[in-house]
């Protein structure tokens, strides 16, 4: 329960942080929320010799709509989402997601950006960001770049971030009118990772036809999964019981679950089916103005 010793740095600017990261190399770890990193260090599963604490850097804690995007800063805490009027009124899918991450105490420290940067397929924001079609803003020694979320998750605990880059912001395209989304997660108890989780974000036209669909899957693969087949199936279709049922079956087929302590692969695959249908119904209700 005691971490190994390390050298600690607390830069005051993002440039300083990036420069430190470059100087110290691959073994340095960024500390933001620390709610994944510090527990791993306490078990000595992670033993970084250098820790770069970015919590002192000002102006990184924002959740704000600007220029067509919802912009989420690196230090926006999960609990900030829970009290954000923007999230409450306009992004219920993000509210769904944040409230099922860990527990309220962890959420006071944990950051949504950290939830993505960790590259853990068991984290919840990845599926939702995949469904929303988000963009990741990474800042490195050569400046900033935009990484589409679809290319962000490359392997288990691996993202497209270079070792000398910091995830500075998530940009979520503001959904068009008649959009709705939902995130549903089945877990063994509060605080657990998902046995399976499904994020759905749809945009409807006025006539009950789905114009755009995003479907993300949590913890049923080595990386957070985008259920492209289900998305393609839903696009252009009238959303009724039959199409929803079929979309759910397609999404279940796209999951790549394994047997583990949370359940068999078969069980998880069926959960994806059940949750996709439930999430689609919820998203549809919200797209039509409901809750």
């Amino acid at each position: 329960m005691i971490p190994r010793s390390f050298e600690y740095f607390a830069p005051r600017t993002l440039d300083e942080a990036v420069s430190l990261l470059g100087k110290l190399g691959q073994e340095a770890k960024i500390l933001s929320g620390g709610q994944s990193l510090i527990p791993m260090m306490k078990l000595r599963l992670a033993t970084p010799p250098y820790i770069i604490d970015i919590n002192r850097i000002p102006d990184l804690n924002y959740i704000t709509e600007q220029n067509g995007y919802l912009r989420i800063g690196a230090l926006a805490r999960e609990s900030d989402f829970e009290v954000s009027p923007t999230i409450m009124s306009r992004y219920p899918i993000l509210m769904d997601t944040t409230v099922v991450i860990a527990d309220p105490l962890v959420r006071n420290q944990a950051t949504a950006c950290g939830n993505l940067a960790h590259g853990d397929p068991a984290n919840d924001h990845p599926a939702t960001m995949l469904a929303l079609g988000a963009l990741i803003i990474a800042v490195g020694p050569k400046g900033e770049r935009e990484i589409p979320i679809g290319s962000f998750f490359t392997g288990l605990f691996t993202t497209a971030l270079q070792p000398d880059e910091i995830l500075r912001e998530i940009k979520v395209p503001i959904p068009a009118p008649s959009s709705g989304g939902a995130y549903l997660k089945i877990k063994r108890k509060v605080g657990d990772y998902a046995t399976a989780g499904v994020a759905v974000q749809i945009t409807m036209n006025g006539a009950g036809v789905c114009q755009r669909a995003g479907v993300g899957l949590t913890n049923v693969g080595f990386i957070p999964l985008k259920a492209k087949g289900a998305e393609a199936f839903l696009t252009g279709k009238t959303l009724d019981e039959a199409t929803i049922k079929q979309a759910a079956e397609i999404a279940a087929g796209e999951a790549q679950p394994i047997d583990d302590i949370r359940g068999s692969a078969e069980y998880k695959r069926d959960l994806v089916r059940v949750l996709t249908a439930r999430a689609l119904n919820r998203a549809l209700k919200r797209a039509n103005g409901g809750a």
Partner: protein, 160 residues
Amino acid sequence: MAKIGVKVKVNGVERAAEVEPRLLLVHFLRENLRLTGTHVGCDTSHCGACTVVLDGRAIKSCSVFAVQADGREILTVEGLEQDGKLHAIQEGFFQEHGLQCGFCTSGMLMTGYAFLKSNSNPTEDEIRHAISGNLCRCTGYVNIVKAYQYAAAKLREGGE
């Protein structure tokens, strides 16, 4: 490893120390400051026995380094009582038998202190979710919910 100087305001008092970067905040409070009311109950950040309030937010002090608290303010269970008067949340736990062995209690109190500042009339469901990061093996939570409700009512009435 070289030690780093930290200055933290704890329960209204400025405290300073030289600490290893790896020193967990919970150990800093318990061992450097001898405030042993905050407890360690697990090693995977599940139990919440270590909960303190850092700059107004309830956090697990086992999952924060002491150096991260430099220049910031912490409230621990020892800081709840003011001028010999128990805080409403403490009074609630006393009146409603919200504690048995007492080991999870400081965490429950600190979570409650922060929670009731932002939710003055919580439903039972909201309370249960608010304490879902704090494990208890003795009480079965029923009376902890009642303690929170008692405290909320007292705070609404203007009590402290």
